[in-house]
Assembly symmetry: C2
Homo-oligomer: 501 residues x 2
């Protein structure tokens, strides 16, 4: 292969592209690699634009490759990594992967050696052949081998994690201060919303900074006992991010083994060894049936045991949104009200139940008595005090008033079309409406829920209020609400099937 | 979305790229589409290189999009085609696809609406969940809906097809003239080698032209009764080509349903309704066990019945290369020798067996007597006469002498390392050596096989001769031969497992 001289062209792209003159006979197909000081996959080979003897690459790709203008590079055929043979062996049957095989596959994902197609084959094998416990353990450990770690001098580290899917799930904003007020160390890292209207990090960001380095977390958390930070601020498990961004999201694919490995590898990386796992079950969440949730919960507990993380998996009711608000600022408002003992029972109950489990794990209450301890902490005002401490430690204003929260100015209501009991409220519709209204990017956007499952409504009663920061977003949300049924009222005709004529 | 002005940038690439200025706020992820007179997927969005308000695209992409410099285009978020929901439904179980669902998926593949990842999910569902007969029938018919057709005035059209995998399989060069000499219409389209050292089209191209349009085939074949052409010269089943090029080859994936749909959709497109299917079975071929071959054969016959193609699937022995040559010119040589009644028995037997089945299907012999008729045609010289006619009709020289065949000048031999009976000969090694020697691109490259399975050899006896057109290719082939065992000799120690020390 000829040596080519690097020239830098001012463009950027997600894929590593090199421009090569048409005169250069490369005889390569789409898959190639480029070799400078470092070796990188070259996804697309675009020909033209540069002189013969030159390779035109973008500034960011030059940096990745360790070259500057004038350096020499070679473009070579791609060699398929040997780990792809491990992936392929699943095509023809059920044989399990060894720990070493999974380690090699994950190592090649990290190094960028597997193409998106090859990576998707890895995920499809997991989807269609369900990994066994040994394989999930190996996957979890292998993913945790890469990335930064958060480590503490004390040994016992607590955490709460939700599998996700239920809108309005703001309980982490209560659980962290309750558990921290009890004296346990709970440095919670959360995601921002991916497909939901607000992640815990989005919600807490309304009142404080959530972007901290590993060093900062290691310094602040032991003093305050609790933190609520954005996991993405630390490069914790890059392999998991690559799998999610490159494969799972584009394909709407989420195999059970990856749900477990994704969550538990982060627990290894953040030194967590006691975990309460919130598993919302219900239509429109990640797990739709109780039987599936029980199976998944058992897998979580057993894989946790193998990686020294004590797990209690708690199935929670999730057939409608939690509490009465959805969206970052609206959820922060409701969490703060509940911390001040003015919030809805549903949130208080769920938060103290889950916090109570951690308090029991920490030996601060006997089994069955943790919730009472948590409830006392909440009632006494100590949880709210701790919340304010955390807000202050994370650069927020601990004196913030409820009225200062940036709730959107554009609002409209959705009304009951007729009389009847609400027999279902759609998580999917609430999420879609809140997102259309601008959440989570517009912090003040979302939905306020006035009436919930089981309540009787009269035609014309408002069921929810849609809130937006921009008029166009409000209109968009109302349009979405017309396409998705938000509630079912008893006696409604669900579908009408007629003969023609 | 802002309207952007097209400018043409002089480059080419496999992926549809647009360059947009960094100032334009597109808020799109990697998946987007571009809308001019036509709507096209936009795989990569590269930013930079052009002024704000411009979209820089390549000449070929502009043509696809139906725009010229100065036209207006919009860049929009990609909308996922609804057929992806059909693909996804297989993630969670065994439910079958309806004909209409498969038709929609295939239509979206043809239109370029499914990304490579989404297409691979379609193939993975087939690999892991094995389609049922109705699904395979629907897949076959849907793939055949797109592309050119070859049609004849007469109704009965015969064909021979090999599933492939055995090196040296030159029997089509005998079967077509035998069957045509018997009077049946057999306009055979073949592939070029993909992963093998020579496809039928590569081999016949040594003596004649193989690149014909549908019109030319429709005109020539009925007169001569037989042709041997390259299927790729006609755009027969573009969807199958897309699936093979974009997914199956990059992933080394070949689900059974696609093997059937790929072959039988081409039979629909070429109006074939009587087919003898050669199914080589053996280690190093596509089907390694007899049981698998029997299953696959039954599926072929039944799907054939549903699409009105009469199929006889013939399992053939394939645990070593067929005959004594591998590589385009070498295989042409051996085929011609056999047509002149001077070739090896193995080729003569296989060719007359398969030709005999077609002769029986055509009603020219009773069941069990077709091979005798085929053998008589071969012995009489009529098959060779017909071969020469076909060569001439396809622009070759019917007077060509064996010595005129362009066999490579660089040769070396591989010798038996010790005394013993040959108890196995590796298809995989023979293919790899012939390809390393330059086949099929170098027509004269390949392997001559002197000794075969069951024969006794003495240490130092030549087993094969490696032939190349270039010295460097010969060296490469010899290097490959040192890394892959070509034969196993009885009494050889296959593996030695020792304790340490």
């Amino acid at each position: 292969m000829p040596q080519l001289e690097v020239i830098i062209i001012d463009f950027e792209t997600n894929d590593p592209i090199a421009f090569v003159n048409k005169d250069v006979d490369l005889n390569l197909d789409k898959q190639a690699r480029i070799k400078g000081p470092l070796d990188q996959q070259l996804v697309v080979l675009a020909r033209g634009l540069v002189e013969s003897g030159q390779a035109g690459i973008s500034p960011s790709f030059a940096q990745k490759l360790g070259v500057v203008a004038g350096d020499a590079v070679s473009i070579l055929p791609r060699t398929r990594p040997s780990s792809y043979a491990h992936i392929r062996k699943k095509f023809h049957g059920e044989s399990s992967w060894t720990h070493q095989e999974i380690r090699e596959i994950v190592g090649d994902i990290y190094a960028g050696n597997l193409t998106d197609l090859e990576m998707s084959a890895f995920l499809m094998a997991q989807q269609y052949l369900s990994l066994d416990l040994n394989e999930i353990e190996a996957l979890t450990k292998s993913i945790a081998e890469y990335g930064e770690r958060i480590q503490f001098e004390e040994e016992e580290v607590y955490d709460k994690h939700s599998i996700g899917g239920v809108p309005g799930n703001k309980v982490s904003l209560l659980i962290v201060p309750i558990v921290a007020a009890a004296g346990l160390l709970i440095p919670k890292t959360s995601s921002r919303a991916i497909t939901s209207p607000s992640g815990t990090a989005d919600t807490f960001e309304v009142v404080a900074n959530v972007d901290f380095s590993a060093e900062e977390i290691q310094e602040i958390a032991p003093k305050i006992r609790g933190m609520l930070v954005w996991g993405g601020g630390v490069n914790l498990v890059p392999v998991d991010d690559m799998i999610i961004n490159r494969i799972e999201r584009p394909l709407s694919l989420d195999p059970r083994s990856m749900i477990i490995a994704s969550i538990l590898s982060k627990k290894i990386s953040t030194s967590v060894n006691h975990l309460v796992l919130d598993m919302p079950v219900g239509i429109g969440t990640k797990i739709e049936t109780r039987a599936d949730a029980v199976d998944l919960g058992h897998l979580f507990v057993e894989v946790g045991r193998r990686i020294n993380v004590q797990i209690d998996a708690a199935l929670t009711y999730a057939s409608q949104p939690l509490g009465h608000t959805v969206g970052p600022a609206l959820e922060a408002e409701e969490a703060i009200q509940t911390l001040r003992n003015k919030g809805p029972t549903s949130i208080r109950e769920k938060a103290t139940e889950l916090a109570g489990i951690l308090i029991e794990m920490g030996g601060l209450a006997n089994r069955g008595h943790g919730q009472q301890v948590a409830d006392d902490i909440l009632t006494s005002g100590k949880a709210y005090e701790k919340f304010s401490e955390i807000v202050e430690a994370q650069g927020g204003n601990p004196e913030l008033k409820i009225d200062d929260l940036p709730i959107g100015q554009y609002t409209d209501k959705i009304y009951a079309p007729k009389d009847g009991y609400i027999i279902s409220m759609s998580n999917t519709a609430v999420k879609a409406i809140a997102k259309a209204a601008g959440a989570p990017t517009d912090k003040g956007a979302g939905v306020r829920i006035f009436r919930k499952l089981g309540e009787f409504v009269r035609a014309g009663d408002p069921i929810v209020e849609v809130i937006a920061e921009r008029e166009s977003a409000l209109e968009h949300a109302l349009l979405v609400s017309k396409q998705m049924p938000l509630v079912t009222l008893e006696g409604m005709v669900l579908e009408r099937i007629s003969s023609v004529g």
